[in-house]
């Protein structure tokens, strides 16, 4: 039995873990949500009565899955019956792969394509459309249990987008390809038309834990609810999230209510809250409390509670002076009040504003390190085999990295098995050993990786070029990485292609973080600096629920900060119609006594 010491958890957290029934847990920012989830998983794993039962945890990102997995293992619990990963991995591992033969689009084999492939295909398909022109970015879509929903809010584009997407899907079906949205759709179709699947999964799973429910899609709820319903009293659930932080509604995410789940899954559900914020000062908490759209209590209880926070808002600075203002704020935080650089984060709503800003900051503050989007030389595809392998290749064998690399090696082995390669004479350890004994002298990052992969597979005695799926992934990985490096180099990132920059990607993070608002979900920093807080960006100009969305975005930004928060709505940015962007309405209208930063 897993036991924790009294001081590990507060009464609210302990109650959530001790609760026998299924739980719907609303957790305010900084309330130890991940900790609670981790302990709940550990507790349930230790209570498994048979080795035929599994605990399932669904997280929003691979990174969160890795982190929670490591933390559970760190609690000394046997994790062999824990499955943890994203909803997409869940659907693949537990529904699509085992039951593919029961779906017409999957039964003759299928390949999962990455977002890079989708983007390329859609870009091509959008090209012929005129008046209006459409692009990949207009083709955002998702599925609900009722069908396809287009994300674009520009009505005039919808007919063209529909046509382009229809062609795109016809091509996917023809080539037996599945993209991330289709993974969910097919999983839902399988579950809906074969009750046996939910019956079996409902018997195998003892617990389904769902993190970040506020960003979960309707179709995902439908899949999970079907399993919960079929598993009736055998499987319980633990659903955690914060409706105030629901910032993915344009992608179909929405904050479900406890009642909806009760109805959908036909289960009893206990509503609990985590209301104690351990992260921020009282001043920060009282600031972001203003942006709440769902009422819940938040109390600052952590060691920063009485910290004399500085909260500033600058709506007069010119766009051209923005970089100097950011430098000033960074220097103030780091050099004047002694915040560690890795505890500073710079956020903006749109990715396109960030890459160039990162590099300007690198130039303006040469003694600082930065960790931001302009600095990652790879494609975005986390499911690419070679991306996965490069994680091992580009990290050093060290005691701190050992567990993580061992897990990565496990993923490589199962990917090889899936590709039909005999791995019976390989183990996770021996794979790591082989990786560690390859040494390549090469400065160019991509050449380094290409030679390393060749050398490694020669050592393993595997001809990966004879395996179609590995060849495809290989091409995709190198193509998209090359595109990215070229683009970044053109924007001025000189050494981005060096193996040194490659290695930094997987180093334990240090330096100042630069991120989109969506990218800092779940993270926390001493000081948060946000810019481009402009109506039309925060919220997005086409957002029908603009006010609520803006509040949630500001809630997320503000609640990341432990100590200081600096908000900027710079002047001089011009929108598509030639008008100047104005500060975000809800921010402008908030009557708060801001501090000035000396």
């Amino acid at each position: 039995m897993f036991v924790w010491s009294k001081n590990d958890l507060n009464p609210e957290q302990a109650a959530a873990i001790a609760e026998e029934h299924s739980v719907f847990l609303v957790a305010c920012p900084g309330s130890g949500k991940t900790r609670t989830l981790t302990y709940k998983i550990a507790d349930q794993l230790s209570k498994l009565e048979s080795d035929k039962e599994w605990v399932i945890a669904i997280t929003y990102t691979h990174r969160a899955a890795d982190e929670i997995h490591e933390r559970v293992a760190g609690l000394g619990v046997d994790t062999s019956r824990l499955w943890i990963g994203t909803i997409h991995s869940f659907c693949l591992d537990w529904i699509l792969k085992p039951y593919a033969i029961y779906h017409d689009a999957l039964k003759s084999g299928f390949k999962v394509i990455n977002s890079h492939d989708s983007e390329r295909m859609l870009t091509e398909l959008c090209r012929p459309f005129r008046y209006p022109n459409i692009s990949y970015w207009d083709c955002g879509h998702y599925y609900t249990s009722a069908g396809r929903v287009l994300a674009s809010r520009q009505k005039n584009k919808l007919p063209s987008v529909t046509q382009a997407l229809d062609k795109y899907h016809a091509s996917l079906v023809k080539n037996r390809q599945v993209d991330f949205e289709l993974i969910l759709r097919y999983a839902h179709e399988l579950v809906a038309s074969n009750p046996s699947i939910s019956m079996l999964l409902g018997s195998i799973f003892s617990y389904i834990l769902v993190d970040e429910f506020q960003d979960t899609k309707e179709i995902q709820y439908a899949i999970i609810a079907a399993i919960l319903r079929a598993g009736k009293d055998k499987v319980r659930t633990f659903i955690v999230g914060d409706p105030n932080q629901a910032i993915y509604d344009s992608l179909g995410g929405y904050a479900i209510t406890a009642n909806e789940i009760r109805k959908l899954a036909g289960i009893e559900l206990k509503e609990l809250e985590l209301s104690e914020n351990y992260r921020s000062s009282s001043r920060i908490v009282s600031y972001f409390d203003n942006y709440k759209v769902f009422s819940s209590e938040i109390v600052a209880v952590g060691k920063n509670r009485d910290y004399p926070s500085l909260i500033s808002f600058n709506s007069t600075i010119e766009r051209d002076d923005l970089i100097e203002e950011l430098v000033r704020l960074i220097k103030y935080n780091v050099e004047t009040i002694g915040v560690l650089p890795q505890e500073v984060c710079i956020v903006a709503p749109w990715w396109m504003h960030l890459a160039s800003m990162t590099r300007k900051l690198v130039a303006a503050l040469p003694t600082y390190s930065f960790d931001g989007p302009g600095l990652v030389p790879f494609g975005r595809d986390l499911d690419n085999f070679w991306y996965k392998l490069s994680r091992i290749v580009l990290t050093e064998a060290s005691p701190q990295m050992y567990m993580r690399r061992l897990r990565w090696a496990g993923e490589i082995l199962s990917a090889l098995q899936d590709a039909g390669i005999d791995t019976s004479n390989l183990s996770k350890k021996s794979l790591l050993r082989e990786c560690n004994s390859v040494s390549i002298l090469e400065e160019d990052g991509l050449k380094f990786l290409a030679r390393f992969f060749d050398a490694l597979f020669t050592r393993l005695g595997i001809d990966f070029r004879a395996v179609p799926v590995l060849v495809e992934h290989h091409a995709a990985f190198f193509e998209s990485s090359k595109e990215r490096i070229d683009k970044l180099a053109k924007e001025g990132a000189e050494f981005i292609g060096d193996v040194g920059s490659f290695r930094k990607v997987f180093e334990n993070r240090f330096g100042i973080t630069v991120s989109t608002i969506h990218g800092v979900k779940g993270a926390e920093y001493d000081s948060v600096i946000a810019y481009a807080l402009l109506e039309g960006m925060v919220p997005h100009f086409a957002d029908p629920n603009g006010e609520d969305s803006a509040k949630k975005l500001l809630y997320v930004v503000s609640s990341r900060a432990r100590k200081n928060l600096h908000l900027i709505s710079e002047r001089g940015r011009i929108d598509g119609k030639g008008d100047e962007y104005q500060p975000t309405d809800v921010l402008r209208d908030y009557n708060f006594t801001y501090d000035t930063i000396p």
Binding site: S50, D51, K52, W83, D93, K97, P98, Y99, A100, I101, Y102, K107, S108, G109, N194, P195, S196, I197, M199, L200, L201, G202, S203, I204, K234, S414, Q417, D418, A419, G420, I421, D422, S424, A466, V467, P468
Partner: protein
């Protein structure tokens, strides 16, 4: 849940075999080399958790030899499970990997091992143009088993043993036609890597009892240690602590013995004296090295059994072989019981040839009692005693035909009444027919005694050598047993020899007939009627069944024996039938009369006089190579044997030649010349027609010519 079917395709000596199982106890019977061990190995590859992982990587030698060129072919081992339920949580993980969804529920489960060329080879094959033999050859030429992969699938729907299905899935090598599809849903989905099907069920394999004593001495195979481990899971360290303490004390005590200490001191002194202080080891001690590790200590546990002498228990090696085997089997059964209590939804016990060293009586009791709940037992045997106990519905027969082995289900498609009839007939002796390569069924003792002698004396080969078992049904209830031989059931040839009982004398009633004659006529007529009726029934019964043939003796064995031209043989034993000279003389005249009404009456009188069985034994002594086998018997033998090979003809003719030489009927030169031609025939330089003509020309009068003429 139980295993309902095993399919083997291209695996070892099976090209395609369907083996069906029922709940409870199942028997697999077959002669040696019929594939019993390979069949068990196949099941173990799928279900035995103790199987080494490396065993899954199959080998060239695992391909069925009849394939010729194995390259490109697949090996498929497929298990089907019945009575599965998606409502039982305990089965959920198993069914997640294997359950076939049929509508809203799961009907069956399937679990398959497929050894096939890897994706890149299959891609190349799928891209071949139809009929591109040269292209196919190029791909096959370089294939090795390194280009093969082993996959485990579940939820399959394909009937792998159907040649058409195999061609769709794998390809048609004769016509170089391969499906463009690389993934066939019919073979099912891969079983998720995180799932181990073998761990989901409980499975115990009891090997043919060979070297039990060695097994007991080997720590890995010692069933006693396995039992100790599975009883307590892992050994509880808390309970073991005091023992560790005792061992330590024991070691200390031994080391402290004055003699031990003394020796240590003496050794030191001696070294010092001999090598001097500088070169002597700096320290030296004598330690008692009894291990305090649980694993090591448990190896000191041994089983002692008292067998015969009262009050004396000996080690396993002192037991009789049978006794040791019984103990071994018992421990394995206990191991199975322990396993079973851990997981109860599916328990399988495979026992290989339990009869190997266990006494017949124990065998019977053992298998009468071997009946655990929720447990499917499958054992293989070549003991007729065990097959007698087992239910014919739960029997699979393995038979070899050429290089391949086939599996037969003797009760397939039969109604309970028919099965009941078979069951009654299969006593220990008749059980033989389950093992036979082919059978000849006869109705009485005379045939049972004389036919083997006839064949041996006339052809020079025994029925055994011809692969024929002769079974005496002791009645005319042939259908009850021969129903076993059918396309659906045992696909081996079965000849039936029965009497037509036609009358052979004038049976027209005559006013002058005395009572005895009247009765005889009536009886004969009645027998004839019954015979005709039987003929109708049997002909209808065997009609359309290529495995069964009925040969009718026109009258009855003894009569037709003379009719074939063997009156001389009967005459030669007359003096052992009758003592009285005139009777002997009269009988001789009648037997040689050529009038069936006369010799027929006489021989039946003789047979009845001494008893048919005894008379057959008498007659058997008179049979030599000049005897003529009645046609209907020859037909029955030839049907059962099937096509006669040149090797058999060679043996027969060599035998005839030897007989001719021994009896001095032919000139030495003639015989030598014929022998040369015979050898040429054996070596394939002469064909059958040529040797047949040679025989006819050289030894015109030899009785074999008539037989040869029928081919």
């Amino acid at each position: 849940m139980y295993i309902s079917k095993l399919q083997l395709v291209n695996y070892r000596n099976f090209d395609r075999a369907n083996i069906l199982f029922n709940k409870g106890i199942n028997t697999i019977i077959g002669e040696n080399g019929s594939g019993k061990t390979n069949l068990f190995r196949a099941v173990r590859l799928l279900l035995d958790d103790n199987m080494m992982r490396s065993a899954y990587k199959l080998d060239e030698k695992d391909f069925h030899r009849g394939l010729g060129d194995w390259r490109g072919h697949w090996i498929i081992i497929s298990l089907e499970f019945d009575e599965v339920s998606q409502d039982e949580a305990i089965q959920a993980l198993f069914l997640h990997g294997t359950g076939n969804i049929e509508g809203v529920a799961i009907g069956k489960a399937t679990y398959n091992l497929i050894f096939r060329p890897n994706m890149s080879v299959r891609t190349k094959l799928s891209q071949l143009k139809e009929g591109d033999q040269a292209g196919l050859e190029t791909i096959r030429k370089t294939l090795t088993t390194n280009d093969y992969e082993t996959i485990f699938t579940g939820k399959s729907t394909a009937d792998f043993t159907d040649p058409a299905v195999y061609k769709t899935l794998v390809g048609d090598f004769e016509n170089a036609t391969f499906s463009e599809e690389l993934v066939h849903p019919a073979i099912g989905g891969k079983v998720p890597g995180m799932l181990s099907i073998a761990k989901e069920i409980s499975f115990t394999f009891v090997q043919a009892l060979r070297d039990v004593v060695a097994d007991f001495q080997n720590n890995r195979t010692n069933p006693l240690l396995t039992l100790l481990k599975s009883k307590s899971g892992e050994i509880n360290p808390e309970l073991f602590k005091p023992i560790t303490g005792l061992v330590k004390t024991l070691n200390d005590t031994i080391e402290g013995l004055p003699d031990v200490v003394g020796i240590r001191v003496d050794i030191r002194d001696t070294i010092n004296d001999a090598a001097g202080e500088t070169y002597s080891p700096s320290s030296l001690s004598i330690r008692s090295d009894l291990s305090d590790e649980a694993d090591q200590l448990f190896q000191s546990l041994k089983l002692f059994v008292g067998e015969s002498e009262k009050g004396y228990e000996g080690g396993i090696h002192e037991l009789s072989l049978g006794g040791a085997n019984l103990i071994y089997l018992t421990l394995k059964l206990l191991e199975f019981k322990y396993q079973k209590t851990k997981q109860s939804f599916a328990n399988f016990l495979l026992i290989e040839e339990p009869e190997a060293h266990i006494h017949t009586h124990i065998q019977k009791t053992l298998f009468d009692k071997l009946n655990y709940d929720d447990t499917q037992v499958i054992y293989s045997t070549h003991s007729t005693h065990i097959s007698e106990v087992s239910n014919v519905e739960n029997i699979n027969i393995l038979g070899r035909s050429g290089v391949k082995c086939e599996a037969y289900q003797p009760a397939a498609g039969l109604v309970p009444d028919e099965i009941g009839n078979i069951q009654r007939y299969l006593d220990a002796v008749r059980s033989n027919l389950l093992f036979a390569k082919s059978v000849v069924l006869v109705e009485g003792d005379a045939e049972e005694i004389l036919i083997p002698i006839l064949v041996k004396k006339v052809l020079g080969v025994s029925l055994d050598e011809l692969g024929i078992s002769l079974i005496n049904i002791r009645s005319t209830g042939f259908e009850n047993v021969s129903v076993l031989f059918h396309d659906l059931r045992i696909r081996k040839r079965c000849s039936i020899i029965t009497d037509l009982d036609a009358t052979f004398f004038d049976t027209t009633p005559d006013d002058g007939d005395d009572d005895a004659t009247k009765r005889a006529k009536e009886k004969a007529l009645n027998a004839q009627k019954v015979g005709l009726k039987r003929k109708g029934k049997l002909t209808e019964f065997s009609n359309g069944n290529g495995w069964v043939n009925v040969s009718f003796a026109p009258h009855t064995f003894e009569v037709d024996f003379i009719d074939a031209g063997n009156s001389g043989k009967v005459v030669s034993v007359l003096n052992r039938v009758y003592k009285d000279g005139p009777t002997i003389e009269e009988s001789k005249v009648e037997l040689e009369s050529k009038d069936i009404a006369v010799y027929g009456q006489r021989i039946l009188t003789i047979a009845n006089h001494v008893g048919k069985g005894w008379f057959a034994i008498l007659l058997g002594k008179a049979i030599d190579h000049h005897t003529i086998i009645p046609d209907y018997i020859l037909d029955a033998i030839l049907f059962a044997h099937g096509p006669v090979s040149d090797a058999i003809f060679f043996n027969v003719l060599s035998y005839r030649l030897r007989c001719i030489e021994e009896s001095g009927q032919a000139a030495a030169a003639e015989a030598a010349e014929f022998r040369e031609r015979l050898e040429a025939f054996r070596d394939g330089d002469l064909d059958f027609d040529a040797i047949r003509s040679a025989m006819l020309e050289t030894f015109t009068a030899d009785e074999i010519n008539a037989i040869l003429a029928t081919f």
